[in-house]
Amino acid sequence: MTPALQVRHLSTTFGHHGTPVTAVDDISFDVMPGEVLGLVGESGSGKSVTLRSIMRLMPHHSAVTGSVLWQGCDLMTMTEAELRRVRGGEISMIFQEPGTALNPVLPVRVQIEENLRAHTELSAAGRAARCLELMDLVGIPDAKRRLTQYPHQFSGGMRQRVMIAIALASNPKLLLADEPTTALDVTIQDQILKLILDLRDELAMSVVFVTHDLGVVAATCDRMAVMYAGRIVESGPVPAVFAQPNHAYTRGLLGSVPRSGTERSPLLSIEGTPPGLTSRPAGCAFHPRCAFATDLCRRESPALQDRAAGQAAACFHSDRVIAAGLAGS
């Protein structure tokens, strides 16, 4: 099976007072058709920047290099017009804060319709019908009246449903979800996650799920890629990674999650804080916080290498990490 999306050597730098800082550092990954990939990491690890870089939504003062192959075409070198066809039509995105990502001064209907207008040939009547259908699809009751309302008249969870309705308007093949449940109550979180999974099945979409929440990954994703300081440090099928992390950072993350797998808890068990954009340590960026670190780790940066069970990890001492297991962490 060929991947739907192939990201190769993607790097994103910001012009930060003269010296550019690297937010995303040479990452590569694939997304298969119908697959849910979790992009996991603490805030500042570059996961959200990765999503926005893929869609070329970064602000002007940043530079993105590498390639993003979508159905054989490179999004990075496309013209603006070609890109517009892909954005919202074939690849859609939902954001973390529906409160700020929806335009406060436009009724919901307008915000759904403009997607339909851009990507479908539907008539005005057709678009109106599709708007109602989408509201039903994402589970917003009283659709007809709700369509005329403004975002501030919706609750947080309902707003996120609106955003999903907008994203799905033109039947995209890939959904990029940037922490879509972080801003919501726990019960609402579960509803939204379930909604996204149901829609994935119904519409045969692929999903890239950016999250800092391993519980969300365990509950929703097929494969995961763990990011630290702008790089992917480990990737693989979710059950395999959860059973046998190959990277010391992943091991630390998993140590903070109750073994039942679906309960949420923040990633706090690792000593210290992730490095800032301007103060990335030399060698393996994780070494100041790593119990397995050696001189080699402080000197050189480990490359992402394939391991058993479809996993890959960027760690010099995977064997010791594996030997230590998850106990006692």
């Binding site: 517009r84 700020t100 406060p104």
Partner: protein, 310 residues
Amino acid sequence: MSLFFLRRLIQLIPTLAFILVVVFVLVRLLPGDPTSAILGDRALDADVARINHDLGLDRSIPVQFVLFLKAVATGNLGNSITLKLPVTTLIAQRLPVTVMLTVMAALMSLVMAVPLAFVAALRRDELADSAIRGTFQVGLSMPVFYLGLILLTVFGARLGWFPVGGYGDSFGEHIYHLFLPAFTLALSLAAILMRNLRAAIIGVVGAEYVVFARSKGIMPGVILMRHVLRSALISTVSLFGLSVGTLLGGAVITETVFAIPGAGRLMIDSIYGRDYPVVQGMTMALAVVVSLTFFLTDVVEAWLDPRVAR
């Protein structure tokens, strides 16, 4: 929305009542009194008493206020002392000129400010931005009457493109005559609006909902007009509304420089001539115009930002 409209309309009533009180008090606080303005300094006591009685000035202040309200309610604002015409006639003659001048200036300033603010904001810190901001800074720092004189000398007297004074007879001629004065007035307002709108656009362009709109693959023009301009205009519209009062004040000076028979000049002449009924009537009329402007501004703002209209 219509409920908001209604509520705002009702709120106009206390505003107008307040205007009435202020005007009544203000005129009685002016130095000198109307009777001596009419009769001169050497009037006989009997004449003074007669005029005072005619004007109702021999009554107590509360009674005078009731009489004043009655007069306003019946649309009778008295007669001009110097021009011997009903004040209502004078207002009907002069106010439209000033309103037209102000409206033209307001429109011109919008026509200048909106596109230039866009260019400046989207080309931030580039040459175009600096050039636009620099030019407007000069416009803003020049006094209105000075700017008016320069334009008048160059485009009126020297080049002969525009008339150097007067108001014309037809609507087309009015526009032609008012072009230079309106432009003079518009420049300083355009500078303020441009600065405000530029900052607002810069703020909105980076907003999450604009990024989300871009992720939908809609046309850049739609993003700019529907998502950026509309939100950015909200703060500019309220500034615009507040500026109209200033604009009317500027119109007084402009009308003097360009010899336009508007309300501003009449007002100045009347103040110098102690023509109290005219001052009173005109103040009231201008205050009504300003509060109507505020009302319209609120309505536009509510239309732009539905969160206001709750």
